[in-house]
Assembly symmetry: C2
Homo-oligomer: 326 residues x 2
C-alpha cells in the first residue's frame, strides 16, 4: 500500500513514523508547501515534491494522508485533493463537520474517489466510543473529559498577550467531577466543574506579571469560564519541562437497564498520550488501510470512522482475528 503525506509538520512526521510500524505500507512521497529541498524526511530515499505538483503523481499513490490544519488548510485542501486522490484527513472543527463532509463527498463521488474525514482521537476514537456507548446504553448520559494535556490554541492565545514571550497551557480534568460521573448519578456539571486550566508563562523582563495574569484569567471563551492557575517560569524551564505535546482524555457514559431501570452501568474509554500528533497519525494510518480496502471494493464518496468495519483496520486475515482477538 503506497501512502503519501501532504504537509510535513508535526502530524506529517508522525504519519511517517507510523508508516514504519506497519509492514504492509510504504511511504511513497511527501508533498510540502515549503521548498522541497529544505524538507529532510526520516525515511531514506523518499521523494519530496512541491504541493503544487501533486496531481502529476496521482498514479503512484494509493492513499494521500492530508496533514494540514483544520482552521485554514483542510476546508479547501481535502475537497480539492479528493478530485485526484483517495484522501483522509483529521478535520477537527466539530461544528463544521457536516459542511466539510458534503464538500468532500461531492468532490470524491464526482471523480470516483473515496475519502474519509475527521479521523483522529477527537473527533475519531472518542466519537466512536460515544456512538458505541449510546447504542449499548440507550438510557443514559455522556461525558467527555480532556487532559491532562497541552492545548495549542490556548497556548497561542496566551502568547498573543503583550509582554508574553512564550507559554504552554494544560487542560486538566477535575478528579471530583470524574468520580461523580463514575458513580452513575448523572450529575449536571458546569464547564468550571469539569476542567481547570494550568498555564506556564515566560514574561518579558520588566513586564507587569499581575496584569498578564489578569488578562489570561479574564479572557472570554478561552479562560474566563474556568478556574485558571498561572505560573511564571523562565524560557529554560519551559523548554526543559514543557516541550512535549502530551494529551488524552476520556469518554464516559453511564446508563441504566432492567425492568425498573434499577441497574447502573459505566462505560469508560480513556487515552493517555505522550504525543498528541504521533497518536493522531497512528490512527490516520490505520484508517488509511481501511480506506484502501473499501476503495478496492468499489466504494466512492466520503466516509467517517462510523462507516468502517473494525476488521478493515488490521493487516491480518479474518480467521486469525477471530482465533486470537475475539
Amino acid at each position: 500500500m503506497k501512502i503519501a503525506i501532504y504537509g510535513y509538520g508535526n502530524l506529517g512526521r508522525g504519519v511517517e513514523c507510523a508508516i514504519r510500524q506497519n509492514e504492509d505500507m510504504e511511504l511513497a512521497a511527501i508533498f510540502t508547501r515549503r521548498d522541497p529541498n529544505c524538507v529532510h524526511p526520516l525515511t531514506a530515499g523518499v521523494p519530496v515534491y512541491s504541493a503544487g505538483e501533486a496531481a502529476a503523481h496521482k498514479d503512484e499513490i494509493d492513499v494521500m494522508i492530508l496533514c494540514g490544519g483544520s482552521a485554514t488548510d483542510l476546508p479547501g485542501m481535502t475537497p480539492a485533493l479528493a478530485r485526484d486522490f483517495h484522501v483522509i484527513d483529521s478535520f477537527d472543527t466539530h461544528a463544521d463537520i457536516p459542511v466539510h463532509f458534503d464538500r468532500v463527498n461531492q468532490a470524491a463521488a464526482e471523480t470516483g474517489h473515496l475519502a474519509m474525514i475527521s479521523v483522529g482521537w477527537d473527533p475519531g476514537l472518542f466519537s466512536l466510543n460515544r456512538l458505541f456507548a449510546r447504542a449499548f446504553l440507550p438510557k443514559g448520559k455522556d461525558y467527555t473529559f480532556w487532559g491532562k494535556g497541552v492545548s495549542q490554541g490556548h497556548s497561542d492565545a496566551i502568547r498573543r498577550i503583550p509582554g508574553v514571550l512564550d507559554a504552554r497551557q494544560y487542560t486538566c480534568p477535575v478528579e471530583k467531577a470524574l468520580q461523580a460521573v463514575r458513580s452513575g448519578e448523572e450529575p449536571e456539571l458546569t464547564t468550571r466543574e469539569k476542567h481547570t486550566r494550568l498555564c506556564y508563562v515566560v514574561a518579558e523582563e520588566g513586564a507587569d506579571r499581575a496584569a498578564i495574569e489578569q488578562q489570561i484569567k479574564t479572557m472570554p471563551k478561552y479562560f474566563s469560564d474556568y478556574d485558571t492557575t498561572v505560573h511564571f517560569i523562565t524560557q529554560e524551564e519551559l523548554d526543559r519541562d514543557h516541550k512535549g505535546i502530551p494529551h488524552g482524555g476520556r469518554v464516559i457514559r453511564t446508563g441504566r437497564t432492567g425492568a425498573g431501570e434499577e441497574n447502573r452501568h459505566v462505560i469508560e474509554y480513556s487515552l493517555q498520550l505522550d504525543s498528541n500528533p504521533e497518536f493522531t497519525a497512528s490512527v490516520l494510518v490505520a484508517y488509511a488501510r481501511a480506506l484502501h480496502r473499501m476503495q478496492g471494493r468499489g466504494e466512492t464518496g466520503c466516509r467517517t470512522v462510523f462507516d468502517v468495519a473494525p476488521a478493515d483496520l488490521l493487516p491480518i486475515r479474518p480467521e486469525e482475528m477471530r482465533a486470537h482477538l475475539l
Copy 2:
C-alpha cells in the same frame, strides 16, 4: 424490527428489558424449552411458544436472539436455528469460536440467512477494543483484567464441595498490577499477580470449615493459581449482600510511537456493570439492529462484531450521527 428471544433465563429477560429501551424494536415472541404456560413475560401480550415450534413462526421474526449457554446449548442451537432465522448469539468459549463460526457460517450461508456469534462484552466489546488498540498501536502489549465481578463458574465449583450449601465468588483485579500496566513499562504478569479470588461460602451446620477452605484454595484451574480469600457467612447474609450479578473489567494496551519509539501511549477501555446479563443483553440488542440492516443489504453467512460498521448500531440517520456524535 421484530425480535424474538430463544431461551428465557437471566439473559433472555435482559433482552426483553433492552428491547423496551429501543423504540424501533418490538418483542415478537419468546421461545422456551420449559412449559410455555409457566413462563410469564414482563411484556404484556407477547406470545410464548415452545422451543420446538420455532420454525412455524419464521415469517413473523426479523432477528432471533439466542439466549442459551455456551457449554451445551449454543454449539448445536445456533447452527440449527440459522437454517430458519437470522440469528445472533453470545457464544463465549473463546477457544471454540473458530469451530462454532464455521458451523454457523455454513448453515446460514446454505439457507440464505445472516448470523452473528460471540456478541457481548467479552467476547464482544473487549474483543473490539483489543482489535482497535492493536491497529492504533502496532508496537505494544495488551492486557485484560476482569472484575470486580461474580464468576458463575467459580461459584458453581465451590457449591459442588461437600458441606457447602451456597457460595458466591468474586474475581478482583490487583490494583498494583493495573498501575504497573498503565505506567507503560509493559510488565510480564503472572496469573497470581493480575487477579485475586474472593469467596463467600455458606457451610452446612457442623461442616469442617478449615477443610472446605483448603479444598477451595487448592482446587486446580479454578483457584490454585490465585491468592484466594474465603469468608464463611450465613445464607441470610449471602442473599442480602451478594444476590446481584455485577461484573466488568478493562482492556488496556500500551504502546510506543516516534522516530525512536520514545513516546508512550495508554489506551484503556473499562466496564463497570451492575448486571452482567442485562448489559450483555443490551449489546446483543444493538447488534441485532445491525444484523437486520446488513441482512437487508443482502448479506448472508456468519459475522462477528469485527464485521459491523458502527453506524449500523444506532437508530439515527448518518447526517445526525455526524452532526451530533462525531
